[in-house]
Amino acid sequence: MLEIEGLEKHYGDLKAVKSLSLTIQPGEIFCMLGANGAGKTTTLMVSLGFTDPTRGTVKICGIDVTRDPLEAKKHVAYVSENVMLYGNFTARQNLDFFTKLGGVKDATDQDYKQVLKRVGLQDDAFNRRVKGFSKGMRQKLGIAIAIMKDAEVILLDEPTSGLDPKSGAEFLQLLNELRAENKAIWMTTHDIFRAKEIADRVGIMVAGTLVQLLTREELQQQDLEALYVQYVSQATEEAV
């Protein structure tokens, strides 16, 4: 479970995140929408303990990330927008390294092959160097690493960016499976349609503030695209 309570992050005069409170339950997919600079990634960075919050707390499985980042990180997996791995390593070597780092010591080649298959990577990718991989393939490998860690909380930073439609659809299927495995999933995205399709809840963040929080039922009733464009335009006008 991911709990964010009164989170604020300031960079000098800039308030990147303002009073954000949110809880993501196990078995829930939460999608955070927002324009560039809205504070989505900053929230993720605080959640990963990369930067300290100005105020408030982030807890992963009840562990305060600021107080005990190493313990908290045992329960979280992260996939970035543009997954960059060790290019000179093969997919297997990358998987093996990050899996061991994630605390799983007894994974076998068979496990790695299975997880690669699950994320939609061909068998021949197993022993290929990652520097020859396309962005989509790297993204899939990143997700495979997150799956191998078997963490309770998964943080995804625009994971579908750069994926072709088929891979995008496969990815959504994978998220569904992870939800069924009781994972709490946070996904930041610009992709309104995929968010609407997969999310249990959607938040819209504008200039550091969570301005709208919609449940699955509300999503069915509202035009999410129009709502999103309205908030973003409003924020742009205010900024000008």
Partner: protein, 462 residues
């Protein structure tokens, strides 16, 4: 976890292009340099033996001369005088230091002493483009390669995006840093040691120097100091990478630091010492001594004019004046020596700001090709001159006291002639001399690693 991190670093390094470059350069440069200098050492040894033999033959031929006048002229009065030969230092193969620049033969006689500077007769390009020895290669090239090997180890990972993924796991930053240092260092140290081992094996196989006992210990100490030096640049590179956020900035900072620290400071230190702690020229000291001689002469003449030139009082007075003159000249010599020593010490201490200087001092001390060799040579030469002076004066006095008759026809014995000998520096003394610089290298290592740790704890990975 540390093992997994180190393994990752080593595999990542070994599979990189820069590792291939480092490997080729290490093998190429170290091996070629040692092979070339081994051959050069063999040539110098042959030259030394030939020269020693020629000088001995010269004495023997004089001994056999019928005309004792010729013997006296050649030996005592400065026709040729006596020669001494200095053997090349065995570990000059690795660290040449001052070995090649010090004369390989010296000469002394009663009336004329001169050192033979053979550099004057050889191809001037040898001096203009000195052969890079192992010490030079490590000091300049290996240090640069070590720095370039790790300069982007942290910031490069940040730039590529892998650092975020790495630290999203439950990995303490100190372990990441330690693995970077160990992994980077091992990736450098292993090809370096293998190349060096190949070079040492070559020296052993050729039998040019006896690689056993104290000589082998000295080589091992030099290797140890080299490893410390390489490690220092690994730590420095890691520190730079924790201070910067992209590889291009890190590269510029690394080059700036390396140029100013390795090239500028050690070369600037003697210049600063020369300005702040000047030493009078030997010509000036000679002129002052000449003035003392003239003053002594005038005072002696005055005594002679005022008193009778004989009698105990006059003799005592003359002796006192001569003694005073000698003392003043000794003081001038001492003044010069003190000033020179102070300047050398100041240059040394100033240059120690750079680890390059510490590395040079430590390795040349251990190979006995550094300041210790220079001092040893100077002392040996002074002793040679003094012993010859005493020996020659005794025979000269004998000649004069014997109504200018030649002494016994067997007076000239080659074995009794003073010889040029240099003090053999023991390994313990060499280590003691190098200890300060070894400690400095260690301090720099610890300092850079500690600073890297401090910077990396606060490093913004986002």
């Amino acid at each position: 976890m540390l093992f997994a991190l180190i393994r990752k670093e080593i595999i990542n390094n070994v599979l990189s292009f820069r590792f291939v470059v480092v490997l080729v350069l290490f093998f190429g440069l170290i091996l070629i340099s040692i092979m070339f200098l081994t051959s050069d050492h063999q040539t110098r040894l042959r030259t030394h033996e030939a020269s020693k033999s020629a000088h001995r033959d010269q004495i023997l031929s004089l001994k056999g001369a019928e005309d004792q006048d010729e013997q006296f002229h050649e030996i005592l009065l400065g026709g040729g005088g006596v020669y001494g030969d200095r053997a090349p230092q065995p570990l000059g193969i690795f660290v040449q230091g001052l070995d090649e620049n010090l004369p390989s033969q010296v000469n002394t006689s009663l009336t004329n002493s001169r050192k033979i500077d053979e550099n004057f007769y050889r191809n001037p390009l040898f001096t203009l483009f000195a052969t890079p020895d192992y010490g030079y290669i490590v000091n300049i090239i290996v240090s640069l390669l070590s720095l370039l090997f790790v300069f982007d180890t942290i910031c490069g990972e940040k730039e590529r995006g892998t650092l975020k993924l790495l630290l999203a796991n439950s990995v303490p930053r100190d372990l990441v840093l330690l693995s970077k240092w160990i992994g980077g260092y091992l990736s450098l140290a292993i090809p370096f040691l293998v190349a060096l081992l190949a070079g040492i094996t070559y020296v052993y196989i050729t039998g040019t120097i006896e690689l056993e006992g104290e000589t082998l210990d000295r080589v091992l100490w030099i290797v140890l100091v080299s490893m410390l030096y390489v490690s220092l640049f690994s730590a420095l590179g890691i520190m730079i990478s924790t201070l910067t956020h992209n590889a291009s900035t890190a590269l510029l900072v690394s080059l700036f630091v390396w140029i100013s620290w390795i090239l500028v400071i050690p070369n600037l230190a003697p210049v600063i010492a020369k300005i702040t702690s000047p030493v009078p020229t030997t010509q000036k000291i000679q002129a002052e001594k000449g003035a003392v001689d003239r003053e002594t002469e005038i005072r002696l003449q005055r005594v002679n004019r005022q008193m009778l030139s004989y009698g105990k009082k006059a003799e005592d007075m003359r002796e006192k004046i001569e003694q005073e003159g000698d003392n003043r000249k000794k003081k001038l010599d001492q003044f010069y020596q003190d000033k020179l020593k102070a300047q050398i010490e100041l240059s040394k201490n100033l240059s120690r700001i750079s680890p390059s200087a510490s590395f040079t001092y430590a390795t040349t001390d251990l190979a006995h090709t550094g300041i210790g060799l220079f001092t040893s040579f100077k002392r040996g030469y002074n002793r040679f001159e003094d012993e010859f002076g005493t020996w020659a004066n005794e025979w000269d006095d004998t000649y004069h006291n014997n109504d200018e008759k030649y002494p016994d026809e067997n007076w000239l014995q080659a074995d009794t002639l003073p010889t040029f000998k240099m003090h053999h520096q023991r390994l313990d003394d060499a280590i003691e001399a190098a200890l300060m610089d070894i400690l400095l290298l260690l301090v720099f290592n610890v300092l850079f690693f500690m600073l890297s740790y401090l910077f990396f704890l606060r490093y913004d990975v986002t």
